[in-house]
Amino acid sequence: MSSVSLQNIDISYGNVPIVKKLDLTIKDGEFLVLLGPSGCGKSTLLNAIGGLTDVSGGSIFFNDKDVTWTDPKDRGIGMVFQSYALYPTMSVERNLSFGLRIAGIDRATIEKKVKWASELLQIDHLLDRKPSALSGGQRQRVAIGRALVRDADIFLFDEPLSNLDAKLRAELRLEIKKLHKTLKSTMIYVTHDQIEALTLADRIAVMKDGIIQQLDTPLNVYNKPANEFVGSFLGSPAMNKVEGRLVSEGESRFFIAGDFRLDVSRYPFAQNIESSRKVVLGLRPEHILPANGSAAAIEGQVSLVEPMGSNILAWSTFDGVSLSHLVGQDDSCEADRTFPVTIDVQKASFFDAETGWRL
């Protein structure tokens, strides 16, 4: 069992800084997901935690022990790679046991561990095969198994599922979650798949350009994005964004964009907002609901509908502002007609137009 603490970490390739002044603490037994777009430095950070990439500044602590310059094999970690990185000329059994053999562990123990891990991952019938004779999902299990037998306190996953098809990905996702329940070890998991992040994580760290934008529970990251980037990076279909101004009129407060006008008095602003401040309104499609006769309804001119299976994504224009919103299959929403909706202002997000941070 281990906690991980990164303090003021800098990492650069040559002169190019990749990770900048990063602080992050991961609690003992926590499942932390590093989420971010391609090239934002997730793998780099994970490699640094594993000791595979040297940091150019800052320190890494495992359980208050400084491991910044400790050798990877002495850090008590297991790591699972995106390309699996199985040793292609060795059987599954050998792949699992190779590190243990090198460490000089006795045969009986090795056998016990391999048996335990392979049964846990249901690969015990594959032990004699070469990696090339395995399916993608089986390879991924072997890669996880190799990390498991190491008795690691901390597991590092670098996009372990990204090479699999959607169905298998969902299956293995579930298994990794179960594994975490069973082992209760600290896990750090890199992905750019938001579903993976939202389903697996205790907390998500959203990264961009080597900087953590928000570190919070999945619910908070989704519902209360810390800035415009996080808001639009998470969620599918994507969040609507409308630029406009906030105007106070007596007790009430309105969001105004051209002819579009929305009463936002009920939005819990975190700070005092001076009048006519420029802001960006972020609205998820599922927070614009069919009005069903409500008094606060606003009319939209529907321009396009996209059936998405369980429900329908409609694109409508409201007083010159185009928004996507979700409607049920029974709501008889058709293109070139009007459709009344209500907007759940409490669940909306406001961002400063200049800095992009949440208000």
């Binding site: 490699n47 594993g50 000791g51 595979l52 050798d71 990877p72 094999k73 002495d74 970690i77 297991g78 790591m79 790679f81 995106q82 390309s83 699996y84 990185a85 199985l86 040793y87 292609p88 000329t89 060795m90 190779f98 590190g99 090198i102 460490a103 190799r146 990390a147 190491r150």
Partner: protein, 298 residues
């Protein structure tokens, strides 16, 4: 069936015609000559080919000839050391160059340039350097080390090692180039995984990386073996088989009997022995290397 075949040939007639030169080369220049060589080895041909049949008489004579015995023995020694040293040295060079060294391309160029030169040149250069009256030994004597001896090219005991030295100099860059190309193809995540597993670097090379480079290793061994069997130029240029017959090799034995000793029967018997040996050794390699992954238009 017959009609099918006719139609097929008609549709592709130009392709058949285009392949005629290749067919002619295979049938006449390769198979035909090979067959005739083998046929002659069962005749009593001397200066001119004869059409008689003397059974295995030429082969019996051949293996009674001490020069042939020496040639075979020499070839075995040369092949063993040449393959071993070239391979080990080539691998080491590749691995060391792969350690992110500066001036990498300079090193690569230096280690491979001998391979671009002719065997004749390789033989001549090393003959000079190892020549006791001129080369290193002479220089050392001039510097006052009068006891220094480096007379490999004129010493019957050592002359084979002189040839091995020259051929290793010529060929180990080839192994280096092929292995280095292979090393560059190894997934970097495999390296990361071995570091997490705490496997020492030498162990990673021996147990994981080199086994992954099997195709490159086979290719380089095949190329080196062929050059050994065909070895002729370097010996002619370096020692011309001498001193005495200390550095005779089979290819030279055959050439001498064909063109100087006018003993065609014996020469063709010797070449048949080489042919059979090569086919026996190479057939499995060729099969596994080239035919299992043969092209799509089959």
């Amino acid at each position: 069936m017959g009609a099918d075949l006719t139609r097929h040939v008609k549709r592709n007639i130009v392709a058949y015609i285009a392949l005629l030169p290749m067919a002619a080369v295979v049938i006449f220049a390769y198979l035909g000559t090979m067959a005739w060589s083998v046929r002659l080895s069962f005749s009593s041909s001397k200066l001119l080919p004869r059409n008689d049949f003397v059974g295995f008489a030429q082969y019996v004579t051949l293996f009674d000839t001490s020069r042939w015995q020496t040639s075979l023995g020499n070839l075995a020694i040369i092949a063993f050391f040449f393959l071993l040293i070239c391979f080990v040295l080539g691998c080491l060079l590749a691995i060391f160059i792969d350690q992110n060294v500066r001036a990498e391309s300079l090193f690569r160029t230096v280690f491979l340039y001998p391979y671009a030169m002719s065997f004749v040149v390789a033989g001549l250069i090393w003959q000079w350097i190892l020549n006791p009256d001129l080369g290193i030994q002479h220089t050392m004597h001039g510097l006052g080390f009068s006891g220094f001896v480096l007379d490999w090219v004129v010493n019957p005991q050592m002359v084979l090692y002189a040839i091995i030295l020259a051929t290793v100099w010529h060929g180990s860059g080839l192994v280096m180039a092929l292995i280095l190309a292979g090393l560059r193809g190894v997934d970097t995540e495999i390296w990361k995984a071995t570091r997490i597993d705490g496997i020492p670097a030498w162990r990673v090379y021996v147990s994981i990386v080199l086994p992954m480079l099997r195709p490159m290793i086979i290719t380089s061994l095949v190329l080196l073996s062929i050059s050994i069997v065909k070895m002729y130029d370097v010996v002619v240029a370096m020692t011309n088989g001498g001193p005495g017959t200390a550095s005779e090799v089979p290819a030279k034995f055959i050439m001498d009997n064909l063109f100087e000793r006018a003993n065609i029967g014996l020469a063709t018997a010797a070449s048949t022995v080489m042919l059979v040996t090569v086919l026996l050794v190479m057939a499995p390699v060729i099969y596994s290397q080239y035919f299992r992954k043969s092209g799509r238009a089959s």
